[in-house]
Symmetry: C2
Subunit: 457 residues, 2 copies
């Protein structure tokens, strides 16, 4: 019996595929990274099956990748050494909604929009929003953040408990449904963001929130990117109840106008969303934001309370990444992901724009400015070595700039296969710790090999 | 040359003590746990010295304990196998205040009150408040939480970066001054709460906050402990801007009255602190709380805005632990630390009170009710085996009850030497992970041996 036969015994013939189209679909993610096919894709329906799959993989020493929606942008789910891809499409249930505990237990395959659809009738929502309709397992594995992280934090702060299958197939339960715990080492935080290199997540216990009663959106247009960045930083310092605080530069708005046929002023623009339960407090915070924007020379200040009109106001931001891709004529996005200390953000945004201009490369600058994390998005054709080299040069330039400010090469997208060498340089000798942990938990390097941590010295 | 001579070469003769009084001072913590003396106490002044101390300890295979203020309550700093205690009294500086980044870098020996004195003039504060004036290094090592965790979270959410000395003396730098990072495994979260068993913290980069413009305190008296617990849970569900939400039961108030000569109604009482930047919003939240309290039959609702009067209103809560000790005639506190899912809290509080009554033991029930974490405090004489047995029986009873609700044996005090066997039972086979991590980072078990993780099977 081959190892594939053994896998079929576990998941049944319908739970496994070696078909070319299925393998091709699991060869890439959303990004520019070159694809590579797995040998086989399995679709387990429960943790017991995942455990048995890992036992087979361990016995035959076959690499394993966990796959949710493939919306990562650093090649996390690309099986560099082939092997088994575990697709969680059939493990997408809500195990329990516990509204009175502000807790929900889910399988890793459920997407964030599906989860929020289930939570809505309870008056609850899950706030982490990385843009794409990613799976919760994938979001946890990459410590996803996105636009609402400013207020609610990233995935790590929302994963209270985990069920994890280790490389040898053992099933571990970490954390639980309490808001606080000091019981032993905090291993949930270690598996969150480990990108499937330490274990396979099979269940998540998540913290959820009451939906705020009131939400208001605003948009402010500025003359320069520093003006916009400084205004954003100042709004944060005033402690306004901002859920989201996003910046798009003039080129980004231009791309949206070209693709969507809109006529937004092609200048650096801040998008705000404030939320709370008190109308007067929101009005006061809005007035604070308007006044700060005005101090920084805003020429256009628009406010919307109505849900549909809020959506329309935020439309440009929501479409930005796809529109940039379309406007550039590129086939895939190459996205930088640097984060800097808060005060360094305005000049970092300027540096990002100037880097693109100096190198003559089309790209958009946009940022989660409330937490110092910003992106350059370039649409490229990854088969064109020149385009790829150029985008890589931009990436390296902004990473080195962020390091000079005390920042990091990745605020929220993770390391994947794209940034292992930067991580090595960023952490220096401290990188040694990563291998101490990896060797302890995955001694044969079967779990997502080649990702997340620097190559061994 | 002995290993003590080698240590003197590192820290100088004034930086080391083998005196009986110094050793006795480092033999105990704040709790009932039996003391044990170190062989030597060293007082390094910088990370380089700590690294060299660890190199000596590693070479001679001598156990090492990190010591801040000794305010732990689970014996964390008691050197069970003697060896070297590193006291951080001379490493208590603020390395940098970066108000524009909402970041401060400190040495581990600084206490939280000293830090807040330095932050105040910048309009900033550090919110984690475990009650005692603990050192930040100790607070990080135990993932301390306390009364403001409801709003701001525990230590783990505030440690952005760490400098750590490993068992073999290598110095590692983890994280940094950015609000977001997805760069490699999240190792700051692993060392926070590891109670000095994985490495020695020598510098912390912490997230700080703007002081809210307005603060208001309130107190509500209830007929039963469930009424109080249910009211607290309901207030949280309404999303009021509570910094602190604390419950004391009738026996606790009685102890305060006896010791302080006050005349508080001897009934279950909720203490609230709300804070924000909008007067109307606070008034609305206060009204929500009052209305919820009234629905649960409150007989006494007091509000104070003035800073001194707020202090006076909270006086009973602040004195509770010490007054319970004094009223009981015990010499040391024995404190339980269970946490349960939010909805289980009211009946858990009732269970705690009934357990004390059933066993005829004097003790106070108090809780950080906003996050499901509650304590029984018993004043005991640890030299009296009967008292110790009784307190242990209470502890075991509430832990088993919390487990039945899906809770944990420790919400914020940690495992130390007091709860390793409970951790083993709580985590079951998943305990194996702890030793995988411990062996990877401290293969000779030199760092705080016998603490934090269950004994090896």
């Amino acid at each position: 019996m081959t190892w594939i036969d053994e896998l079929i015994e576990i998941v049944g013939p319908d739970g496994l595929s070696t078909g070319e189209s299925v393998k091709a679909q699991h060869a890439r993610d959303f990004s520019y990274h070159h694809g590579h096919q797995p040998d086989v894709v399995v679709f387990p329906t429960n943790a017991r099956q995942v455990s048995r799959i890992m036992q087979v993989a361990y016995r035959y020493q076959i690499p394993v990748i966990a796959y949710g929606q493939g919306t990562g942008v650093e090649g996390h789910t690309i099986p560099l050494q082939s092997g088994i891809t575990i697709d969680f499409a059939n493990m997408n249930r809500v195990v329990a909604v516990r509204p009175e505990d502000f807790v929900v237990q889910v399988e890793p395959g459920i997407t964030r929009q599906a989860l929020n659809k289930i939570l809505g009738p309870y008056g609850l929502f899950f706030p982490v929003d990385p843009g794409a309709d990613a799976s919760l397992g994938g979001m946890a594995s990459t410590n996803a953040a996105g636009t609402e992280a400013l207020r609610y934090g990233a995935m790590r702060q929302h994963v209270l408990g985990l069920e994890v299958v280790l490389a040898d197939g053992r099933v571990m339960r970490l954390g639980g449904p309490t808001m606080k715990s000091s019981a032993g080492y905090q291993l949930t935080s270690l598996f969150v963001g480990a990108e499937g290199t330490l274990g396979i997540l099979t269940e998540l216990t998540l913290k959820v929130y009451a939906i705020p009663q009131l939400t208001v959106a605003a948009r402010a247009v500025f003359n320069t990117i520093e003006d916009a960045g400084e205004a954003a930083t100042e709004m944060i310092m005033h402690g306004v109840a901002a859920n989201r605080l996003e910046l798009m530069d003039e080129q980004t708005i231009h791309s949206v106008n070209v693709v969507e046929g809109t006529e937004f002023p092609e200048q650096p623009t801040l998008f705000l969303e404030l939320a709370g339960n008190h109308h007067n407090a929101l009005l006061e915070d809005l007035e604070t934001c308007r006044s700060v924007a005005s101090d920084h020379g805003t020429s256009d200040w628009t406010v919307e309370w109505d849900a549909d009109r809020r959506q329309a106001l935020w439309h440009a931001r929501h479409k930005a990444a796809l529109d940039i891709l379309a406007a550039s004529g590129g086939s895939h996005p190459f996205t930088t992901d640097t984060a800097v200390p808060l005060s360094a953000l305005p000049r970092a945004l300027r540096h990002a724009r100037e880097t693109l201009n100096r190198m003559g490369i089309q790209g958009a600058v946009l940022g989660h400015v409330g937490d110092g994390n910003y992106h350059i998005v370039m649409g490229i054709n990854p088969e064109d070595p020149h385009q790829l080299d150029q985008a890589r040069a931009v990436n390296e330039a902004v990473i080195r700039y962020a390091w000079e400010q005390g920042g990091t090469c990745t605020g929220e997208h993770g390391i994947g296969m794209g940034k292992t060498r930067f991580l090595r340089e960023e952490r220096g000798e401290s990188s040694a710790l990563y291998w101490l942990i990896k060797d302890a938990l995955d001694p044969h390097n079967l779990l997502n090999p080649g990702k997340t941590i620097p190559l061994r010295d």
